[in-house]
């Protein structure tokens, strides 16, 4: 019989470089055996049998390797999954503005990954109190079970996986409506808590029905990592919100000290900030403009800290020199706020809140639309608060009288386009419900809109008042203040406009009628 030699020299004398070492050695050994097999049929048969057995072993090893390979591929895919989700969330983060949006982003991401599952969020309010007894005797309803698991993950700070072991009962009426309604056919539930530091924020739940595969350790790992990530982000948001609130509260407090130099003006800046903000919202200014408006209004009189007390509190008529000194305060305020780069967009109102629509204001004598909107808004708010406050020289007007005076001053002192808007919103406000509405909106705003930090500094800001001569002779003109008292009388004959009948006093103390002075 001819040698049934395998032409092994056609093949490279090694196996594929990817093959595991053990297999390579076996194949080598086999080839050597084949090469050295003699010519007799018996020897060849023995070799063939050896080959057969060796191939069977190789086959088994290959199967093992493939299984390992498949397992590693699965692990790799799961890791990619987690990584991909984290990156996807990160890509969307720049658009997120509030804590609620953070939670929603994570929920949406989870829902997209587990699109055939039930995904839900439990907030702290929806979970039972620590000493709450579990549901009534008998079958635990689905809602009760879900609630219990959510609470469990909260208490134990870990991922929980659970199946319902009691037969499904109907949802007990007492439970209905407390949390999100789970489907009746839930077979398995996975829950993880979101913690911001030590504070429980929410529990995220994932539920599957019969048809989906069982949750495994990689599902738990994914949910766990996402909830941890979510918790870290929430914590950052809360810190930023607190910081923001702190800075605005601090400024309010400090500004309050300036106002308190003269107790008639106590609280003035805060009220002006409040009115200005309302008007800004009514004008549908964007969030940034609103924030800058509020800062500007809060700080508009900070420069009064540099005004001499004797001038600031003078009850009688001001001399020309004293009046000029008072008129410095917008510039002084400007010099203070100018040092804060993040408040560059708040400078307009600070500097120009004493300009008059007819151009006869100060420091720059701007007129009409030349006056920045921020300044025109603060000016109206300023005048209104001044009119509705008691002064050393006169009693406060009521708000209706103040609005009437604003009407009369439209076009001369105040912006005639803004007056009707301010009028409308003030009437609405005073109708009673607006105060409450503003409070809730303020709280909402604090939590949401102020979550963003102060914006970065910008260049190209006004460097000071135009180098025009200040209108030093203004003080000699008949005070528009007198005209305003007359106007108020036209609206309401009972107006006296001051605590006494001394109209000369009224004229002389024009300086504190911010925006209404000559």
């Amino acid at each position: 019989m001819r040698d049934a030699q395998v032409h092994h020299d056609d093949h490279p004398d090694r196996t594929s470089p990817d093959a595991p070492p053990g297999i390579a050695a076996q194949v080598q050994a086999l080839r050597k055996q084949i090469a050295s097999a003699g010519g007799s049929g018996v020897a060849q048969l023995a070799v063939l049998q050896e080959l057969d057995a060796a191939l069977a072993r190789l086959d088994a090893e290959l199967a093992l390797v493939l299984t390992e390979h498949q397992g590693m591929a699965d692990e790799l895919i799961k890791t990619y999954e987690q990584l991909g989700i984290v990156f996807e969330i990160t890509r969307h983060l720049s658009a997120v503005r509030t804590e609620a949006e953070v939670l929603k982003l994570f929920l949406d991401s989870l829902t997209a990954t587990y699109h055939q599952h039930w995904v839900a969020l439990y907030t702290p309010e929806q979970l039972p109190l620590p000493n709450h007894a579990p549901g009534s005797a008998g079958a635990e309803s689905v809602s009760a079970w879900v609630e219990r698991i959510a609470d469990l993950c909260r208490r134990e700070h870990r991922v929980v996986v659970d199946e319902p072991d009691t037969p499904r009962g109907d949802a007990s009426p007492a439970r209905a409506g407390r949390g999100p309604a789970p489907p009746a056919d839930l077979q398995q539930l996975m829950a993880a808590p979101v913690y911001s530091g030590d504070v429980f924020v929410a529990a995220i739940l994932l539920g599957r029905s019969e048809s989906a595969r069982t949750f495994d350790s990689s599902d738990m790992l994914l949910l766990d990592s996402l909830c941890a990530f979510c918790g870290d982000l929430t914590r950052t948001f809360r810190l930023v919100t607190e910081l923001d609130r702190l800075s605005i509260d601090m400024v309010r407090a400090l500004v309050g000290t300036v106002d308190q130099k003269d107790h008639y003006t106590s609280g003035h800046s805060q009220r002006v900030g409040h009115y200005a903000r309302l008007l800004g919202e009514e004008l549908a200014l964007d969030q940034h403009a609103l924030r800058m408006l509020e800062w500007s209004a809060l700080l508009h009189d900070i420069g009064k800290i540099g005004i001499r007390d004797d001038v600031l509190k003078k009850a009688g008529r001001l001399t020309e020199e004293e009046f000029a000194h008072i008129k410095e305060h917008p510039v002084r305020s400007f010099e203070v706020v100018r040092r804060i780069p993040q408040l560059a967009d708040a400078l307009d109102g600070v500097l120009h809140h004493h300009e008059h629509y007819d151009g006869k204001g100060y420091p720059s004598g701007l007129a009409g639309e030349q006056i920045p909107l921020q300044a025109r808004i603060i000016q109206i708010a300023d005048v209104f608060d001044d009119l509705t406050s008691t002064r050393a020289y006169r009693a406060a007007f009521n708000w209706q009288q103040a609005l009437g005076i604003l009407q009369q001053e439209a076009g001369t002192t105040v912006d005639p386009h803004l007056v009707p808007i301010f009028d409308r919103l003030t009437r609405r406000m005073r109708a009673g419900d607006a105060e409450a509405r503003h409070e809730t909106r303020r709280q909402g705003d604090d939590a949401n809109a102020t979550a963003a930090p102060l914006p970065p500094a910008q260049s190209g800001r006004p460097t000071g008042p135009a180098p025009q001569a200040m209108e030093a002779d203004r003080v000699n003109d008949p005070s528009p203040r007198e005209a305003m008292v007359e106007a108020a009388k036209a609206v309401d004959p009972d107006v006296t406009g001051d605590g006494s009948e001394d109209t000369a006093r009224t004229t002389g103390t024009a300086r504190r009628d911010n925006g209404a002075d000559g």
């Binding site: 498949q70 991909g84 990156f87 890509r91």
Partner: protein, 128 residues
């Protein structure tokens, strides 16, 4: 069974995606670059047509962008294609691919997300 063409010069990525797509009941063909992809797409002896393409952008010989441009002018112009792009590609992509019908999937991506988009595209195309 839908057929998906994977084009990427990264052999490991091709292998991984191949396993993932097969697990989801799709048939897979593999290409190492845009040129090979075109050959596969134009192959008259192919048992089944290719229903969807997933391609990387940076490949030798013929990259993902060139592949899309060729595709939209070829007999296969209605084949949905997903391009896998890394972050630095984004801006250039917007310019080069404007007006072309192509889906961009940023990397790193979650495989399940990708699968969701694939199923969606396949479902949409099936009605043609």
């Amino acid at each position: 069974m839908p057929r998906i063409l994977i084009a990427d010069d990264d052999a490991h990525m091709v292998r991984l995606l191949s396993i993932w797509f097969r697990q989801h009941g799709h048939d897979v063909v593999e290409a190492r670059n845009g040129h090979q992809a075109r050959q596969l797409l134009e192959d008259p002896n192919a048992p089944e047509p290719i229903d969807l393409i997933v391609s990387d952008i940076n490949m030798p010989v013929c990259d993902g962008i060139a592949l899309v441009k060729w595709l939209r002018n070829s007999a296969r112009r209605h084949t949905p294609i997903i391009l896998l792009s890394s972050r630095c590609d984004q801006m250039a992509l917007m310019n080069q691919l404007s007006g072309l019908d192509v889906v961009i999937q940023p990397k790193p991506f979650s495989p399940s997300r990708l699968m969701g988009r694939i199923e969606h595209l396949l479902g949409k195309n099936a009605t043609r």
